[in-house]
Amino acid sequence: MTIFLQTLPFLLDGLLTTLLVAGSVVLIAIILGIPAGCALVFGPFWVRVPLRLYADFVRGVPILVLLYFVYYGLPAVQINLSSMTAAVVALTVFKTAQIIEITRGAFQSIPPGQTDAAKSIGLGLMDRFVQVLAPQAIRRFLPPFVNSVVDTVKGSSLVSLLGIVDLMLSLQQVIGRTHVALPLYVMGALMYFSINFPLSVLSRRLEKRFI
């Protein structure tokens, strides 16, 4: 028992890093991804195609490979990023593609009759978007979005392979020092669980409320 208490400070430090990484990724991905998703649904041809290609490309590659690419590959061509920056960049590239997909799905699942009705009472494009489509899209966006936040927290564990001391790596360091593997792994699992499980529950509750 004492082992757990002794190691807790280190693990909490790692947890903070995990939350920092995941939080940054989610934030940047929303800022980039939601407008891009809207562009994918409403934009002209020459905007939609590159976005489509980007989203499909990124989602066909494992996150780990993307991480390696950014972390090891870019320095080789003289683009030097700190490990933290590289990790966030790589994860953000991945996550933005996900957000674009979720946004697209949110708008495209709105019945076309809604646009018809909005048109028929004389609403222009801006009004249709703001008054009718966006409110409904947000409701459809939130459940899968919260789910993807869970995915991001899980994916952030991969940055441990780049030497960033997140929860995963600090866990391993602690295990390396104390040689008590299984109980500590379980404890680490519970720590991740305690972040993600409430989010999963929230996602399901949102789904019931909105969809």
Partner: protein, 262 residues
Amino acid sequence: MSDIQLKPVISMTGVTKSFGLNQVLKGVSLDIAKGQVVAIIGPSGSGKTTLLRCINFLEEYDGGSIKIEGTEVGYKDATGQRRRRSDRDLAKLRADAAMVFQQFNLFPHLTATQNVMLGLVKSRGKSKSEARQIAHRWLSRVGLTDKFDAMPSQLSGGQQQRVGIARAVAMEPKVLLLDEITSSLDPELVGEVLAVVKELAVEGRTMLLVTHEMAFAKEVADRVVFTDQGHIVIDAPPNTVFEEQPNDRLRTFLSRFGSFHH
């Protein structure tokens, strides 16, 4: 002054529309005068809904012309060239041909009142308080006095459709387009909706309704139009159409509906 009287509210000439290789409207011409109630009947796929949706440009028609009180819908004819109207122009025109839908299409995140208010505020430029008064007035007229703040999910099908009618009529459109508005309703709810439509017809509103309710069409319409395979086959008063049935295809079509004599 007789010019204004004679100018039809809706004037369609030679309208054609294809979806891919399938030509749904093959040259339709139809005039609707002010105050007339015209029912459009016909088999599925004959183009009646498409016809309606071309009038408020929910579908872009390919050829011919559709004019609402003289203004061409959808296209601007500058220097003999057809150019698509801007979104803003279209929006203004569409409010004048408000539509009620088979699937109701109420905005699920707004209350009944807000559903009716939205077009009044954004399209007709009314203030919020004025729009609310108008909305309440219309909701009461369709019999929903106690449902002002209800969400669509809390309303029955018939109630939702009545909100849909209120939403369209509140715009004071030049013509009301009703697209099979009772086809999605449980039978026992059809009556309440038709009662509202009848009231509006009696008031002298110009209405174009696509319907399968033959008895209702007979009762309320000034003219009945029968479409088949993209053409208007018959355009005559209800008695002619339903009693005399002067056309073979019409007779076959109507025979499926049984008797609708009162």
